[in-house]
Amino acid sequence: MTTVPAVPLIRCVGLTKRFGALVANDAVNLTVRQGEIHALLGENGAGKSTLVKMLYGLLKPDGGTIEWLGQPVDLDAPEAARRLGIGMVFQHFSLFEEMTVLENIALGTAEARADATLAARVTEVARTYGLELDLARPVWTLSAGERQRIEIARCLLQEPKLIVLDEPTSVLTPQESENLFASLDKLRDRGAGILFISHKLEEVRRLCTAATILRGGKVVAEADPRQETAASLARLMVGEGVKDVRPGAGATSGTPMLVVDRLTVQPEISHGIPLRDVSLSVNAGEVVAIAGVAGNGQSELFAALSGEGGRIVRGTIHLGETDVTRMDIGARRKRGAAFVPEGRLGHATLPQRSLSDNITLSWHATEDVGGWFLSLERLKQAAGAIIRRFDVRGPNSDPRAAQLSGGNLQKYIVGREIERKPKLIIVDQPTWGVDARAAALIRQTLVDIARDGAAVLVITQDLDEAFEISDRIAVICGGTMHAPVASRSTDREAIGLLMTATHRAGEVA
């Protein structure tokens, strides 16, 4: 262990950022030292991303100062941050799908061409830090973990002194996360400082020696994660007032509402993942979760189950007794199914239309919205009921979808389907990017309708969520599905192993 120098690497004092009336960061103090892996904890919406964007020169603070190695600095652009030695790996990657790994790295590296010189540098860095990279592969064939390694390589080529990682493990399998931690340990040993943003407490406890906890834009605590329990950290992050989800009845023997039998689907979108021999059943009264990291066929499975897309080569889908394999989404809705896709704006809703107009999207097939001529009365009524029942908060009584926050919009979308009293509901990523309160409400809602007799299928990247609400868990990996097992009789380790695969997108036969 190297001796920790007296002057911290980076010190934020009273950093503040406002967006209109919203104070995203309120007088935040943060200190990261060299050779330290420092956690920045907080729920979705606590202000973590805003803070690090200011550290990277993407946003200008409205108040406060940033000191680098004791000197105040003005970070007005990412280039300034990079010159100081700050590197950042974002949660959302800046990649070019059709170009190769090497070209992608070149684009993120100043004055570099995708040539042998760069390739040599990249290979060197990859070797030093244990990153596996195939430079000639086009990005669209890569898994999320592999794509992240491109971002990490871009960052490491700059030889940064401070590396910021924003929710890096949200797209990784447990085993990929371990590989990442090994690389981070190496970086720390070489004297770099690491700022690790996460809301996953077990990882933070394993990896980090210091933590700053944000809630509602303010620093509420600083702690040493090694001295805390996950429960105490959670309380610090979330505060009081968010109830745990009351578990469901665990009934797994109702009539089968959804039966998928050896479904094999060719994707119709470019670079989609083919599905092979997917079999699954969901009974009335139970919650089944399909776990898996992004990019393993979840969207394709959802599209096949909803009838939105995908060419079904073999296999069948039954809703109750009815074979719906050849039916479109409207017909499936008529038979009692409801769908909540992953994309909120632009898929589940029209961003520029009001919440009442958006009711039409999924209701026109089954509910009374006025027939051929839409009844604005009826739509407004329905929207109002959803807004009240699901605590949807917005700038006015009938806002446009784009005006809502992620959590509120998701509550509306889920509520819109629940109000149709479906017999089966399929939800893709129910609480991705949603704040803790809304997430709890959504999860409780799903558990509750299962108790009332509906069949609930949840596709999720969040293993904790899967274990929290489901009666059975299945795993999707590379377009194939492992049979569901009872949630109580398995654990994260076992599921994590099933999520790992040596599949390569594009090589599936």
Binding site: K60, S306, E308, G309, D328, I329, G330, R333, F339, P341, G343, L345, G346, H347, A348, T349, L350, P351, Q352, R353, D357, T360, L361, S362, H364, A365, W372, F373, L374, R400, Q403
Partner: protein
Amino acid sequence: MGLMLVPRPHVSRLRGVLTPLAAFAVALAIAAVVLTAMGKSLVVAFQVYIAEPLTSAWGVQEVILKAVPLTLIAIGLIFAIRANRWNIGAEGQYVMGGLFGGAVAIATHGMGGFWVLPLMLIAGVAGGILYGLVPALLRNRFGISEILSSLMLVYVAELLLDYLVRGPWRDPRAFNFPKSVNFDAAATLQPFIEGGKLHWGVALAVLAVLAAVILLGRSLFGFAVAATGEAPRAANFAGFNEKLLTLQVFAISGGLAGLAGIVEVSANIGQLQPSISQGYGFTAIIVAFLGRLTPVGALLSAVVLSMLLIGSETAQIMLKLPFDMTRAFMGLLLLCVLAGEAMTRYRLVRRA
């Protein structure tokens, strides 16, 4: 540049109405500068383009009449463009409408009967629909851009018409002029009032506007059109069949353009000849945008652009301004309208 675009949180209704007016004013101002630089008299220009068409009985009727094809085509375009299907080739569907309807007129020449005219109109609409479905089918089946295919088909339609009026459909008694027989009375759209000029095409245009207002604003179909244009994935999620919708909007757009074609041919031209359009299909695109892709807006814009077109006919004589000047102005106007549209969505601010 030291400026950047910042999205506006919402667009006030007032801004929505004022913007096209402002755009038109800017375009006029630029045109005035150019005219002055060319040594033309602004006073005469005002008289020719604005005063005359609006103050004389003859002028007003001409303006309304020329607004008829512009309105019909623009209404159809609104359906298509709102659904993000760019039917740039409406001109071709207009020609085909005139051609199909004209074929009926030629075939029934001398027969007379009240059924001739409705049959012509139906044939014109049918011709426009069929021709409009071609780019739609090419898009659905082969993924070909409807912009390219509909545009290529404009040239094809014009060449076909040219061939027909110079060849098989040429009036043998026309001294080798390339034109068909003159349509007889049964094949001509009659004026409302004996001796007046306004014909039933005006009623058709108004009907089209009303139907569009209801369909686009209140019907499930109108919602499907809007959804397809705003977010195709959401439209798919709603169960709106994308390919069917493509066919539907092209049928509407083609049909209305075809109707405009036969109305013009029957009421104003009275025969088939190599040129039966003054570029109405393209001018209608500008009408649609100036009207902010709304039916009533399109109607008002059609009147304005009709004034422009009428004025330009006189201007060729009084100001020695060739039609190209008007064409250039239309391009300028569209640019100003688009800029105005951008300004409703964004503000220009100094980069911090």
